[in-house]
């Protein structure tokens, strides 16, 4: 599979009068997992929406394989780049298999019939997300974790080489969060899908990211391998929070321990642990 490149150059975008992204530059490494973190309202979701053309850029541009995404026909774009929004809407009573089949939309014409290829893509997506035994259940009956896997299955059925996800782990308990992140990592490792996602949890971000991006006020603050990005200085600059960074013994990745005003038994100054 030819890896796709996704670049943002001096990107500005926003809603109404307010500018939320303000001259942001970003290079998404092909075939890797990129995780975007940042304080609330720093423009993470806006960035994903602008990268996937849901929101027009005011200034600057988004380049997919060197071509401005505004020059790419919608259907072609939807076959290369998929997006799972933060709160997608499931029509009342829709079954899992039916919802996942909606992912085939960009592969079908106005009057085209279902092909074997479509059915196989849906089956593969259900199997990869382990939702195959739920396929005839209505989605309203599922738990939050199952439902999120179904939405990811829909995005998989779209068979895009690039997949953007806006907080795919929100509202899930910790075991389901890990399940979803493991699933996305499988996808990245077996199919080489380039993944870009917004996560709230810094420690999970550092654990699962190949490339970690921290944003402040609509700009890219720092980007690179998690070890270089998740530092006490950066946490202070991005979140205004004092913290201690240690190495997670199981993953070898940096882990952030926040420092507040209470419950401190050691002074909040640097000393070797």
């Amino acid at each position: 599979m030819k890896p796709h490149t996704l670049l943002a150059n001096g990107l500005s975008a926003g809603y109404g009068e307010t500018l939320i992204l303000d001259g942001l530059d970003l290079a998404v490494p092909p075939g890797r997992i990129t995780v975007i973190v940042g304080a609330n309202a720093c423009g993470k979701s806006t960035l994903l929406r602008t990268l996937s053309r849901l929101l027009p850029a005011r200034k600057g541009q988004v380049l997919l394989d060197g071509k401005s995404i505004h020059r790419i026909p919608s259907r072609d774009l939807a076959r290369t780049l998929g997006l799972l929004p933060q709160s997608p809407i499931a029509p009342e009573g829709i079954t899992v298999a039916d919802l996942v089949s909606r992912g085939r939309h960009p592969h079908q014409g106005v009057f085209s019939r279902w092909t074997r290829e479509d059915d196989e893509a849906v089956a593969a997506a259900l199997a990869a997300t382990k939702t195959d035994d739920l396929s005839e259940r209505p989605i309203d009956e599922l738990s939050g974790g199952q439902r999120q896997r179904v939405w990811i299955a829909m995005a998989l059925a779209q068979q895009t080489d690039l997949l953007l996800l806006d907080e795919p782990t929100t509202f899930l308990d910790i075991s389901h969060q890990i399940e979803v992140l493991d699933l996305l990592t499988d996808l990245n490792q077996t199919r080489g899908t380039t993944i870009v996602m917004v996560l709230h949890d810094l420690n999970l971000a550092a654990r699962y990211a190949d490339h970690l991006v921290a944003m402040t006020k609509g700009r890219l603050h720092v980007a690179g391998p998690p070890e270089a990005v998740l530092t006490e200085d950066h946490v202070r600059q991005v979140f205004g929070l004092e913290s201690r960074i240690i190495t997670d013994p199981t993953s070898g990745r940096p882990t952030m321990l926040p420092i507040g005003r209470h419950r401190m038994i050691a002074p909040a100054i640097k000393e070797p642990l």
Partner: protein, 344 residues
């Protein structure tokens, strides 16, 4: 390894498609049966043989008038109006993901009515010009509601609230005009308030048929994109749907149909609003609601008009009957939506 899963997916998809065809078939039978009933049975019973002979162009004494001039035009017009209201209504409801978003609730039908009443009472007009004004006003109100609710795109609930406000305004305009109207225009003007197929003529059916074919065809060609919009605008856009353009096309098609039907039969109360949810109950999750809702609309208007003419103690225009059906459902829906925030 995936083969059994693929097979079960294919099987289930085909089963859903079969059920969808079955529902459409049954609704077609229902509409056809009611159509035949209204031809056969009015104030008097006409034998089927006489009706067939009349339809073939023979001049059967007595029957030629009751069937050829009264019942047949009325039945055809009723079906066309029902199809237009049903299809236009469900398109809005699906697009805005809310059963309250039907054109008769958000002011489009009222726009057409207000323009017609104004034309008849104040300008003293009559005939096709009134219909043309009504259609243009329907489109105008749709644009106005859309523009007033535009802020970083159009949110469904905002559009519905703005629409309800605009409806209230238009209703008061109508009430004002009627209160000042000279008595001889009232009869004609009142038709624009309740909706009626009284005095239908075959000549009226052709323009409505053309409008239905044109706008309905446009709508059906966007059926897949409309279906994708049910997942939310962002998801639809991510699936390659051009959301803004699709919306505009659907609004033009739906308003075109609703306003054309309103121009001929008046705003037959709540048919656009009721057809979609009833069709949704029947179809379930077995496929698109567009055609089933259109057929449901036709059945509603046919049955409603028949009841209004022959089954109730006195003669009522069809809009009174459908209004009596629709109002309680509207209340039920507002209560339910309030509780769950649910969609169609």
């Amino acid at each position: 390894m995936l083969a059994p899963l693929v097979d079960s997916i294919v099987l289930n998809r085909r089963r859903r498609a079969r059920r969808h065809r079955l529902v459409i078939g049954l609704l077609l039978v229902l509409v056809a049966a009611t159509f035949v009933l209204t031809l056969l049975l009015g104030q008097s019973f006409t034998p089927p043989r006489d009706i067939l002979r009349t339809l073939m162009g023979e001049d059967v004494p007595g029957v030629a008038f009751t069937v050829g001039q009264l019942r047949l035009p009325r039945a055809i017009l009723t079906i066309l109006a029902g199809l237009s209201f049903g299809l236009g209504g469900v398109a809005f409801q699906i697009m805005l993901r809310n059963p309250l978003a039907s054109p008769d609730i958000i002011g489009i039908s009222w726009g057409a009515s207000a323009a017609a009443v104004f034309a008849i009472v104040v300008l003293g007009l009559s005939g096709p010009i009134v219909s043309i004004l009504a259609v243009s006003a329907g489109l105008g109100v749709a644009l106005l509601v859309y523009a007033l609710s535009f802020r970083n795109g159009v949110a469904g609930t905002r559009l519905i609230l703005v629409g309800i406000g605009v409806s209230a305004m238009l209703e008061s305009v109508i009430a004002y005009i009627l209160s000042t109207a000279p008595a001889w225009t009232l009869q004609e003007a009142l038709r624009w308030l309740t909706g009626s197929v009284n005095g239908a003529q075959l000549g009226q059916t052709l323009p409505l048929l053309v409008a239905l074919a044109l706008f309905g065809g446009l709508l059906l060609s966007r059926a897949r994109d409309l279906e994708a919009l049910r997942l939310g605008d962002d998801t639809a856009a991510a699936l390659g749907v051009r959301v803004g353009r699709t919306r505009v096309l659907i609004i033009i098609a739906a308003v075109g149909m609703i306003a054309s039907a309103t121009a001929i039969s008046g705003p037959i109360a709540f048919v656009a609003f009721l057809s979609g949810p009833i069709a949704a109950r029947i179809v379930g999750n077995n496929g698109s609601l567009l055609v089933p809702a259109a057929l449901t609309g036709a059945a509603l208007v046919l049955v409603g008009d028949y009841c209004g003419q022959f089954l109730l103690p006195s003669r009522y225009p069809v809009g009174v009957v459908t209004g009596a059906l629709g109002a309680p459902y509207l209340i039920f829906l507002i209560v339910r939506v309030n509780r769950s925030g649910g969609s169609l």
